[in-house]
Amino acid sequence: MVVEKKKKTINRLKSMYPLRAKVNETYLKSIKAIQAGKPAVWGMLNFYYGDPILKAMDVEVVYPENYGAIAAAMGVARQYLDRADAEGFPTHLCGYSLTTLGYTARMMKELNGQIPPEAPFGGMPKPLFLMSSAAICDARYKWFQALGRYMDVPVWPLEAPLPGIKEFSVEDYYDEMVKMGVTHLRDFVTFVEDMVGKKMDWDRLDRTTSLMIEVNRVWHEINELRKARPCPMHSRDFWSAMPAALFLAGDLEDSLRLYQDMYKEVEERVHSHVSAIPDEKYRLVFAELPPWHSLAFFDRLAERGWNFVIESVGYHPPIPIDLSGISDPLERITRFSLQFLVGYYQDARKQNVLGGTTAYPYLKYAREWKCDGALLHPLITCRSASPHLPYVSDMLMKKMNVPSLSIEGDIVDLRLFNPEDALGKAEPFEETMEHYKKVRRQEGFDW
């Protein structure tokens, strides 16, 4: 691909590299430990709900969602998609799920449980159990249930309440969510203890929980610094650095130190007016998962002065919440995880943005990070990450005169994203952004 060969324009953070390296190193160590016989769990991204428990129990977790992206980027996903199709799964299902289903069918039916030789990064060995999650989409618990066709492996589906913005203000509503969450997690701990054959070290869980919350607080503060003009940190650095906070990848004490280093570097850039790109002309928010296979696309946009100053809420840490007065780690975990889902609710209700719990944060981003436009990336087979985007686009324009550019892609099928075609849309969109910049000023907005 021509765009992949051009020079890199984005001024990457130096502090991102050790953080990313630590995550990669931990992943490889984890794979080696699993290959040496340590039990592994397949987990869904669970927004901090199940991960700290597994981490405190010293259980290695692999995430088929992430592995789906790796398989796609390494060019092996196609055969797993075809296999899933042959097994009878509809082709319009989530690309990550089909990759996992095809992979597992091959591993269990053809190879008698052995990891497929073509599988990149050591593959995913047969797990001890599966931890699914109800958060965000139906696929993320139905897909693990469907794996029962190939492996007699227990599944724990993590509940994830999701209230309406208006309903959330009903008396005792939040307390009921917490109550269910804590009870549910207590039973999950018992399940994990039974599965791994050892008891929970509650002091360790307490420390793990506190570290998880602190890591995410620092990570949140880093992103707050990106409100500066010019923006010191590009979305590329966000995506590279997010796994340590989002998946708790790596040692949490190391992660905390590395995020603190990143905070210092970004803060220094703010003081020195150092930008993430050479000449920031347009500040943009990016919505949903990026085209992992074509990230150099952002360098080409950076050459045009496009700085991506903030991105999808689904991968951002929760707005910090003081949980220091709560001694039960399970309650702290529950409240922290709920904060990811409901942290924006009060503000959203004030702004009367009732539709789309995931939509309101984009309005906040546009207003506070002073965005000139939004680049929306609807994903054909990811129905959780895309349905709110037309609404986001409509609200951004109606409430703030911020225009959106929508470019379709997919999480696995690389053919659906065409970077050259997308770049062709950049110039006309710049004219649109310029126009609405004037409109906003006429209407009294401050950017």
Binding site: G88, F129, V155, L162, M180, D194, P390
Partner: protein
């Protein structure tokens, strides 16, 4: 609605003009509350003298307005329902209740609430498991729903009214089951198409009127001499939604559909709400546990640490074996509405289950439009040929 029509002819009239009766009732001062899905506990509306009205899609309606709010690769039923709402077809509603029974409904509800202006709108969250803490949480959700309904109506949701409403709705469930008894004979007394008419009509009527309609229909069918023609295949349709007679006609051209296990068929009527000291407990258990939609995560044993596939299939689909035997079914069509993830993930396992009980089945997908009917007919005919050989 004609005053003279009864039974099936009345059901047909209501089917063709579903909002007619609701509008009449509104003119009389009743408040009409819309709902898109069978998981909304209608008993709570009835107890407060509100009229439930299911906001269905329309396969003949081209989607135009919903395009500005939802992407194309999204549940066509919810897109269609929202499209009808955005075109003002439900503007007579006084309120709307949506529920987190699936991701598309949750996502559509947010947009629906934002783009319409009914005096009342409520979203009920719903857990995915039937674990005790999930049931308790769901009970609290229903309690909150009750609070907002009380505030909207200015009336108190008393236990007496609640129990009376449950009784009426249980009666409706029992009558629908009785209606399905009439498809058991080798020559069914009523067709799948006629049942679709009746059930869809029920969703536009107050429960007491619906019960009268069912009673009339059952009596009419029992006493008529000419029923549907007996055909070679007796089919079970398993689907998310099958609520349109044109779709049903495709299956019944060369077969008898003796059971429609979907939200347009028996799914919401297969069992009854238990009377409990706290009526919300009985309702929570019924709606979370008893309705057999693919959206609920079921296990052979809650929190199981060992698993076997056969037990898993039994916990998810075991109820279908009784249906297959009692209705003497010789073919199953697993009808998937495109982009319906909860049902789509079930397809291979459900096929395994039907294979394990020795019944022929096939999986067919369509997109809830009139345009899908011709290819659907081809697939159905091909399947019928295989089971009739």
């Amino acid at each position: 609605m004609s005053d003279k029509s009864t039974g099936l002819s009345k059901a047909r009239e209501i089917y063709l003009n579903r909002s007619g009766r609701a509008k009449e009732l509104k003119a009389e001062g009743k408040k009409i509350i819309g709902y898109p899905c069978v998981y909304v506990p209608l008993e709570m509306l009835t107890a407060l003298e509100l009229v439930p009205y299911q906001t269905c899609g329309d396969i003949k309606e081209p989607i135009t307005e919903a395009d500005r709010a939802l992407p194309g690769s999204f549940c066509p039923v919810m897109r269609n329902c929202l499209d009808c709402a955005l075109k003002g077809k439900n503007d007579f509603l006084d309120g709307m209740v949506a529920i987190h029974s699936c991701d598309p409904q949750e996502k559509t509800a947010r947009v629906w609430e934002s783009y319409t202006s009914y005096p009342y709108f409520h979203f009920i969250d719903m857990p995915i498991t039937i674990r005790p803490e999930a049931l308790e949480y769901f009970r609290s959700q229903l309690n909150d729903f009750g609070k907002t309904l009380e505030a909207f109506t200015g009336k108190k949701l008393s236990k007496d009214k609640f129990e009376s409403a449950i009784k009426f709705h249980n009666q409706q469930r029992a009558l629908v089951r009785e209606l399905y008894e009439l498809t058991k004979p080798s020559s069914p007394r009523i067709s799948g198409k006629e049942i679709t008419l009746v059930i869809k009509a029920l969703t536009g009527l107050p429960v007491s009127e619906g019960n009268d309609l069912l009673t009339e229909t059952i009596n009419e069918v029992k006493n008529r001499t000419a029923g549907p023609e007996k055909k070679l295949a007796r089919l079970l349709i398993w689907s998310g939604t099958l609520d349109d007679t044109d779709i049903m006609a495709v299956f019944e051209d060369k077969a008898n559909v003796v059971m429609n296990e979907s939200c347009g068929g028996i799914r919401a009527y297969r069992s009854s709400v238990k009377f409990t000291a706290d009526p919300l407990e009985g309702l929570a258990d019924y709606y979370l546990n008893e309705i057999t939609c693919a959206r609920t995560f079921r296990q052979a044993t809650l929190g199981e640490t060992r698993k076997d596939y056969a037990g898993d299939l039994q916990s998810r689909f075991g109820y279908l074996k009784g249906i297959v035997r009692e209705w003497n079914i010789n073919g199953v069509i697993m009808l998937l509405v495109r982009y319906c993830d909860p049902f789509a993930f079930e397809m291979p396992s459900l096929k395994d289950y039907f294979d394990s009980i020795g019944i022929s089945s096939t999986y067919i997908e369509y997109d809830y439009t009139v345009g899908a009917l011709a290819p659907l007919r081809t697939r159905v005919e091909a399947f019928l040929e295989t089971i009739n050989q």
